[in-house]
Symmetry: C2
């Protein structure tokens, strides 16, 4: 297990931690300011959200690297299925391709895929997952040609209805096997998997080359809002060191990305304080 107590190169900040994923939240720092604030602290990488990039993917990627940081990823594809997906397959795929192009422009090696919920009119998850497999198989060659890997992120089962019919690492590995493309893998987020006692065996089944990301936050024992009340590492009940040991034991050596959605708490604070706290907690409790 890597020692992070005096080395922040593996640490990446997902800008959602500063509220950049949701309109009207956070301090609204431009990406350049986030880059410089991260670089000053020795943070190794950054993960952006599409809404803050606009048409500036290439210059922002260059600016990030010039500032001393890696671009570790981009959030995210559109929902591919479910009640919140765009209305037509064509519109979904067009936006899927646009997200791949943006990741390529940024020089981001990984694009996170949040697959969307249960297809309206169907029941259970399998039919929706089958459609996800189809769309992923179509997009995968485009991603490969762009040098971008697609990281299927299983979300917490609480989101199964509307946001992600992919809710377990088990199902994510099965989906990877069904798609069977070398640029498709999975992202592991402690918020979504911390409760799962099968994590070790499922990650072993996945294999190290398929683990494309590891996301950090914490699960607050009393969660007030199921979407936007994630905890800072150390403030909740997830066993962060044990989960990282499991992920690294499965062969993962990539960045550890802090991604905290917290409308009522961390997003209301000074971003400098948030970043300082991220660094301190990363060194101590992750």
């Amino acid at each position: 297990m890597r020692d992070f107590s005096s080395n922040l190169s593996a640490l990446a900040i997902n800008t959602a931690t500063l509220g950049h994923n949701v309109e009207g939240h956070g301090a609204g720092w431009p990406p350049e300011r986030v880059v410089d604030a991260c670089a000053q602290r020795g943070i190794g990488g950054i993960v952006y959200w599409r809404r803050e990039i606009g048409s500036r993917s290439v210059p922002l990627g260059e600016r990030t690297r010039a500032g001393g940081l890696r671009v570790d990823g981009l959030c995210r594809t559109p929902f591919l299925v479910g009640p919140l997906a765009l209305p037509t397959r064509q519109a979904i795929m067009d936006d899927f391709y646009a997200s791949i192009d943006m990741a390529a422009g940024l020089g981001a090696p990984v694009l996170t895929v949040v697959v969307g919920g249960v297809v309206p009119g169907t029941r259970g998850l399998s039919e929706s997952l089958g459609l996800v497999a189809d769309l992923m198989a179509v997009a995968a060659p485009r991603a490969a040609a762009s040098g971008v890997k697609l990281a299927l992120e299983p979300l917490h089962p609480v989101y199964a209805g509307d946001r992600s019919c992919l809710v377990s690492v088990r199902d994510a590995v099965a989906l990877c096997n069904a798609i069977a493309h070398p640029c498709v893998g999975i992202a592991i987020d402690v918020y979504h998997v911390w409760w799962d006692s099968s994590l070790k065996e499922e990650l072993k089944r996945a294999g190290p080359e398929r683990i494309l990301g590891y996301h950090l936050c914490d699960w607050l024992a009393t969660t007030r809002d199921i979407l936007l009340d994630r905890g800072m590492m150390g403030d909740g009940v997830a066993d962060l060191k044990s989960i990282r040991a499991t992920v690294e034991g499965a062969g993962y050596t990539g960045p550890c990305e802090i991604e905290i959605f917290s409308a009522a708490d961390w997003w209301t604070r000074d971003p400098d304080d948030v970043l300082d706290t991220c660094v301190a907690r990363f060194q101590r409790v992750c």
Copy 2:
């Protein structure tokens, strides 16, 4: 798979479906009225909550059977661990025993166990589950002597922090194995397990004698309140027929218990209409 289209004997109504589990909700019918309304419709059984029983367990059990219904169960033990548990082990066990005595008084064959969340000051689920195993092992002989089985109910992983460190059938089977007492088994609730692709193999691992209950409701694609916004069967995205086929395929032949927490919808309706809808949906979509 049993045919319920013209036979309601397997159907049980959990009185939470009428709001009887939470103070200030529902129409407040006395248990006798619920019994008669269920009997008129041919419903086979009833599952009570402790708060509506008080000291009348023996006469209410007799009244239920005299009215033509089975008492199929009692909800529930106190939380055994976690932030919402009583403050001392003695207080928890006293209340645990009181719930066993009430189930015995009612003549209920099964007492549902909701185990409680993560022990404050600990991380992850395993330490809390270990403590649950200890307390269950102490209580099991008392339950056995009273003719009551203890049904560990894995709740949805969204409740892991504060209400149930037991969040998967997989962990419930492991817990049964650790306790290793013939009166300890599990209850399967579609709300909590509908997303779980490992259900079939885990129920096979459990064995038929350990499946002590099957609970019905539905998962609404858009869930507005994570505790009190369960759906009526057919209104959500759970594949109810498939789940029942899995549960019965694992050997379960007992009652199917409708348990719908629905503060903003079904609890505001006329209980006669709720019961009529339960019967119609049970026959058609479960």
